[in-house]
Amino acid sequence: MNFQEHLPALQVVLPLAAAPLAMLLRDRLAAFVPVLAATWAAFAVSVLMWLQVDATGPISYAIGSWAPPWGIEYRVDSLSALVLMLVSGVAAVVLPYSRASIEREIRQENHYLFYAMFALCLTGLLGIAITGDAFNLFVFLEISSLSSYVLIALGRDRRALVASYQYLIMGTIGATFIVIGVGLLYLKTGTLNLVDMGARLQEMTSHRPVLAALAFLTVGISLKLALFPLHQWLPNAYAYAPSAVSAFLAATATKVSVYALLRFYFSVFGETAVFQRLPMEDLMLILALAGMFVASTVAIFQDNLKRLFAYSSVAQVGYIVLGISFDSVTGLTATVVHLVNHAVTKGGLFLLLGAVMAGMGGVTLSRVHGLGRVMPLTAFGIVLCGLSLIGVPGTAGFVSKWYLILAALEKGQWWLVFLIVLSSLLAAAYVWRFVEAAYFRAPRADLVAVHEAPAGLAIPAWIMVGATIWFGLDTSVTVGSAARAAAMLLGTAQ
């Protein structure tokens, strides 16, 4: 029995075991401790696996010693290792924050439920990224989705209930589309193992059921990753959920769906089947551009800051999908880099908004007037994250846009460079609305005495902001891993 060998199983089992434990313990401190321990341990496990993948290549783990392709395989390669590290890293930062944050936002007798659902959601998201089995992927997707519906419904605003219900309807339709896609692929290939499926599909990529499966999977996963115009569930869900939940979901949920899309496109169907025989490049390019421009424009006219940055998330998903549409190593590098960079930027942003919520009692623009005076550090942090959303050099967002522009130039699409810069101007417009309210307006009379956020909220938020700056200056971890992942994705297709 070697400990190192069983890391892939531990990655999922640790948070999975913490969830019922939190349910049984019921006390809010007693429930917090096992979930925190599991989350931090999961992060440690993901870092260990990332190092191992870096040194010795992909890890394959047979659950219950049933050899793949018959048993369920957990497979960690350079892309999934990065996504696992991202998800568990964000969870490790958000969970300590949530302890101080839900104190104000969720009734105390429900705290243990929050921790249990958080652990389950983490289980699901990690499971999607680690599993090598198509049906297992669906099960983990539903674990993460069902728990995130509950997490959103825990918001104190009654609109959170409607947002959660709408997300449940849309999310379930998306998940069912994914099952139909997986079912058709299973009927054609007789296997559920993704690698095996990919190998068997190569001779029949133009068969009609396979094309139907591709369509169902594309629509289903696009619903989950909030690709324009399938993003309707996202703004309200992020706006009315508890702050810690907004931060966690904004940083991880859509990113894991992007991972699932990449996995199906490049590891199962193969790059030639998706991009060379079908007009997917143009389709994704148009949807990505529409998302970037429409969602950014809508964001400019929002009054609730959480809604504003939720629409900005839809626009940023556009950038991520734009990278996929280039179908080149540079484009995919941009996608994966932006996956990480946007996660830390948006995570930090929503964590800081949670601190604003705690201090000012709300996050509408009229309420945050004078935030730069009463909560200077928090306001400054939001501006830094905003700069990263715009793509100012020295922040993480710049690195992603740099690679997107490189990929566009590689394809000779000069006009696209112009559009990417133009959409950044829209981002500057909505970030400016916050700057104007926070720095050029006097605080409301009843809010002058508000103090800076407590350390329990400020420290996790600033870890994220720090990461946003760090990934903008030192790109060896993010771009290095992303480039390896992109090469791996396109390599398996050849």
């Binding site: 419904a153 219900y165 379930t172 069912t176 099952v179």
Partner: protein, 127 residues
């Protein structure tokens, strides 16, 4: 015409699945009552069970028991998969109904248009 009927008849299970899926999806989109929407969602999810289970049945096939008398087996795996999918469907339905109960407590209605009207009125008041 006859060829078309023969085609539909020989793929009867698929047509049933498509009909159920479309009927379910239609209810989800067209109905404003939150419970009816969940019913539609349930029908939509159930149709997929048919897509998995029906092709797995081989005419004259038995359960996969290794014995000299049995030569043709039905595939048991889709049934197991759908057992999982049924559990997921039940969990989704239960959670959806629980949300509807909470929505009714908070808004006093389960009609989507009335909830949206309440929200629009609330936003006009500047909340």
């Amino acid at each position: 015409m006859e060829g078309a009927i023969a085609h539909i008849w020989s793929h009867f299970d698929y047509w049933a699945m498509i009909f159920l899926a479309m009927a379910g999806l239609f209810i989800v989109i067209a109905r404003g009552n939150l419970i009816k929407k969940l019913v539609g969602l349930g029908v939509f999810q159930t149709s997929v069970y048919l897509l998995y289970v029906a092709p797995a049945k081989i005419v004259g096939g038995t359960a996969p028991i290794v014995a000299p008398a049995f030569k043709v087996y039905s595939n048991p795996l889709p049934h197991v998969l759908i057992l999982t999918a049924i559990v997921v469907g039940i969990a989704t339905l239960a959670l959806g109904l629980a949300l509807v109960v909470r929505i009714r407590e908070a808004y006093g209605t389960i009609e989507e248009d009335e909830i949206l009207r309440t929200e629009a009125a609330g936003e006009a008041d500047g909340r």
